[in-house]
Symmetry: C2
Subunit: 234 residues, 2 copies
DNA sequence: CGGGCTTTGTGAAAACGTGCACGAGCGCCG
DNA sequence: CGGCGCTCGTGCACGTTTTCACAAAGCCCG
């Protein structure tokens, strides 16, 4: 069975949509829906059907022509492709406001990403318990990572400490990073890195607001074409 | 001077990078740097210089050949283009864990997005004060939005209430949404919408982790090409 | 068991974003 | 004041993503 393991690489844009499909499929499954067409799935995801079909085709040919996709089976395939058949414990670096909120937020463990450790440098934080996890000192990071086999690190430090946190995480053996700090961090080749930045998102919205405001008076209503990006329209 | 207001539309990918440049420029300015080249800026942003120059060229020709860009002037231009010369108050719908964390997080007001209102439906929440703002009932949303001239809404409700929150926000006159709920919401044409979803980000990382794990044994070390997306490499 | 209806899977085209390479313009130095 | 070196601005080629359009394939009904 070592054969069909790693199929062709899936384009990043598609990978980013798979979790969305997965959520929709799970919801539908819970409501007792057994079969779903690319058209319906597209409707729920706010995309067009062709894109959905192409995305799913990267997983294999799991649909039935004339019918659609069997929900339960497709869920299994998507989860498998995303590597969600196992848990991925994460370590959170930074036990401030954000770190605590993240640890307290249930949505982590629920979805297969239990908080396997929390790290801070402040002596006042170390030892306290947040979201059921005891905060440890940065010096213990490597030990935490290795003992729990953690490969995903979450950076929830202030911007100034983010690069240091990233370096420590990589040195400890973590290979994927999710960065919440408002700073660009650089990581060695081969390490995956995603970034979530509130301020950036708001500033992007601001751009379109501002643009809306200035075109409104010169043109008639040249409303921004509702920037695409997981947006749906009614 | 009503002339050069709305230049050509800037590609979304570029718009998304402008806030990053802005942050870097501001940091450099604070450190006393007066002039910066596209090369240096690219280094800080983890991008290549050509992309930086192309992005900046959408704002106009503000560089000096042979020299670079004047930091202070460029900051002004980027802020102007992003509409950051004014404050954009936001209203947060959902005063649960996440909503409270967002309101408490200083980074909002600091950057020109003061929390102008918080909304919830639970009587237990209404009336309480979070991050200096009193929580009001959903029924009062329109009034809050109109009285403070709010055009940006933040959705921090559970997934099940997200669409309802979005509808209420749009009905109240909000034209931009930032959605933290793990649900696809649909909005009328002309409304801007961005989404931040923890679980999705983690699942994307999971995909690359899983892939790394399975290629490791079959190939030598066909490390994932460090998926591009605001990632830098050392 | 065959024809019609439906929906998938996928080539090919179009649109979009990125990176390269180089001409154009500016400052500086001799 | 002319030449040199540096860096911007951008045309062009390339790679990726989206969209279109249609043949292939399954199901159902008569």
């Amino acid at each position: 069975m070592a054969g069909k393991r790693s199929r062709r690489r899936i384009p990043e844009a598609s990978v980013a949509r798979l979790p969305v499909y997965l959520r929709i499929l799970s919801e539908q499954f819970d409501e007792g829906v057994n079969s779903i067409s690319s058209e319906e799935l597209a409707e729920f995801a706010g995309l067009n059907a062709a894109k959905v079909r192409k995305d799913l085709s990267y997983l294999g040919s799991y649909g039935t022509r004339g019918v659609g996709y069997e929900v339960e089976f497709l869920i299994y395939q998507v989860r498998r492709e995303l590597g969600l058949t196992q848990d991925w414990p994460v370590v959170i670096v930074g036990a401030g406001n954000l770190g605590q909120a993240l640890a307290g937020y249930g949505g982590f463990g629920d979805r297969g990403f239990p908080v396997g450790g929390m790290i801070d440098v402040a002596e006042s934080k170390v030892g306290s318990v947040v979201g059921g996890v005891r905060v440890r000192h940065l010096d213990e990071l490597a030990q935490v990572v290795q003992s729990r086999n953690i490969s995903i690190g979450v950076i929830a430090t202030p911007g100034t400490a983010a690069q240091e946190a990233a370096d420590a995480l990589v040195a400890a053996g973590v290979t994927s990073l999710l960065n919440f700090a408002p700073t660009v961090i650089s990581v060695p080749h081969g390490i995956s890195m995603r970034k979530v930045d509130l301020a950036v998102e708001l500033q992007i919205l601001s751009y379109y607001e501002q643009r809306r405001a200035s075109t409104e008076q010169s043109n008639g209503l040249q409303a921004v074409p509702a920037e695409r990006r997981r947006g749906a329209s009614a």
